[in-house]
Symmetry: C2
């Protein structure tokens, strides 16, 4: 276990750690004490039918949703819904390689087992049912890896999900995306300071984390983001200052093993695991009203990949979000981003299931 | 100096090494004995007005042009034209960090000076004039970094270039492209075996070269290339086999310093250096009939970047090449690629200057 101050209430505000007990994993092995970080907004009604689950993306947490997506002025309105954001396994807040202690000490650091998107969803379902008594979800909403979890929910538990909004992500990870994630992972594991996952501090792996950030710079934003110098609107003077002042510190604060845990999951997200590899059959199981919401300038979850999946979901619509930031438009920094998200999510949440 | 058997006649066939003497460089310093590898096809006519210069791309040489682009069945027809392919400085065949010996021993390996696209073009112009007596070029043709050189020719020597075909490249490198190249370079220089450029063999840097290949896998081809498993047509059984059996051996045979020399140039290609940073003015200098030929699925020289430059060239046309391979469509492995190239180049070469 490593003490990394980034993964704390100081940086992530209020959240509760809730254990769902032992979690047996799809790949074998288990997490002895599966603690999930949970932030809630609003009130669960008596019928317990107003709950929205929000799932989190790679390197993200509930914090971005609290700060940008959830509020009385947004579709994710805590005055109407009970919104539960559950940080994914490996997020650094929920059980993760770097924080595995106590009953989880046996799976600390390099000994952390491989976790799949399905494991997250099983743990989330158990938490919602056992801790909150929630059996059905008004909606599941998530971006990127959160979209992977959203699809997994809709396919694995079709009767439990009334509405689904996978944003900037796919139900089956693409081979290009696998290779992208491999390049990201290699940047970290190749750092001699990584020491096969038994480093003493994330600071030992800073060079690898910076290279990882450098590859995000290439794929996370669009070519036009850089061409138009959109970073100027974020108060930077040069692209180098933006990379060094935003992307690098964003990632170097994080734990390498935690990032690698999430990447391993991301690479292998695939709802067709439920149907012997048949993606049509898997997506055909979805009964949730589903808005598939790719970002037009996304370089690694391109619209056409999302559209191909949307076309296979009976109760779905394609809602393309326009954002020159590309995939990292998810950070909701563009002033035109949240109005689109709110429009689409609002339409979805206000529509009959 | 390092003995690297890849850079030899065994792997690159016939070429001549021709010296243009001392080359003083834009960034300062000089190459004492600037030897360029040159392959020619066809015969220079008496008027010396049928010469076509072909420039080379990153990691490439005259070999790909000889094998795929040049022939009686192609627009680049040696029965009609005298085709001169000049390998760029840093290519490993022309003067490069790894082969700097004799009078160039003082600039071997990590001591090799920074070279710019303009330096290449100055050396090429001198070679054509002094060695072949060629004063004007029927055309200049090049892809990727070869397109950068093609643009540089058309802007620097407008009276010497009758026709120009920049394929899959830009006149001013984009910031996104700069960051992409930086990620590639970092993959190499971060390898402990790189030893600040003073490694004993490229084999010492194999891990870095493989990571560099892994990033090429993400950006060099299109997302659809991987989705459609186009590599199957190249006789591979899996994407991993393709990466390990094609991309990795392709790059690990090469010299790290040579690749870095080319990358430094690539990052800074900019014809507006001739006009105080004014790209409109620079492109306005072009009098060559110019066909701008981006590849539709190119992820780092996207069509829109090429179109924006084309719109600023008076005597130009945009000819988009369709190829699911993306940028590395340049390898001409798609059966539909060369017919398009030949159509466009044929139209250009058959049109009045």
């Amino acid at each position: 276990m490593i003490d990394n101050p980034f993964y704390s209430h100081e940086f992530h505000g209020d959240y509760d750690l809730i254990s769902v007990g032992r979690l047996d994993l799809e790949e074998g092995g288990s997490i002895p004490d599966c603690r999930l970080a949970v932030a809630t907004f609003g009130t669960l009604n008596e019928a317990k039918d107003n709950a929205i689950l929000v799932t989190t993306w790679y390197s993200g947490s509930h914090q971005i949703f609290r700060d940008a997506y959830i509020g009385a002025d947004h579709a994710l309105d805590p005055d109407r819904y009970f919104i539960v954001v559950i940080d994914q396994i490996g997020s650094g807040l929920s059980v993760s390689p770097h924080n595995a202690d106590g009953p989880n000490a046996e799976i600390a650091m390099s000994k952390f087992p491989h976790v799949r998107i399905g494991d997250d969803v099983v743990a989330q379902e158990r938490l919602l049912r056992e801790h909150f008594g929630i059996d059905t979800l008004y909606a599941v909403v998530g971006g990127s890896m959160g979209a992977q979890q959203t699809y997994e929910w809709a396919v694995r538990f079709p009767d439990k999900v009334k509405r689904a909004a996978p944003i900037a992500g796919t139900a089956r990870n693409t081979p290009h995306d696998f290779l992208y994630t491999k390049a990201l992972a290699d940047a970290i594991t190749s750092d001699p300071g990584y020491a096969d996952g038994e480093y003493g501090s994330n600071a030992d792996v800073v060079a690898g984390l910076e290279r990882h950030a450098g590859i995000w710079a290439v794929m996370g934003f669009s070519t036009e983001f850089w061409k138009q110098e959109v970073w100027r609107a974020l108060d930077f003077d040069s692209k180098e200052a933006f990379v060094e002042g935003f992307l690098e510190p964003y990632f170097t604060a994080m734990d390498p093993n935690d990032l690698l845990c999430m990447m391993w999951k991301w690479q292998r997200g695939d709802v067709a695991r439920h149907t012997g590899g048949d993606l049509d059959a898997a997506l055909g199981r979805i009964t949730a009203r589903t808005f598939v919401m790719p970002i037009d300038e996304d370089m690694f979850f391109p619209v056409r990949d999302c559209r191909a999946e949307q076309a296979r979901i009976k109760t779905s619509e394609l809602r393309v979000v326009e954002d020159v930031l590309g995939h990292l438009g998810l950070f909701a920094v563009s002033p035109t981003y949240m109005p689109q998200i709110d429009q689409h999510l609002g339409d979805l949440l206000n529509s009959p299931a």
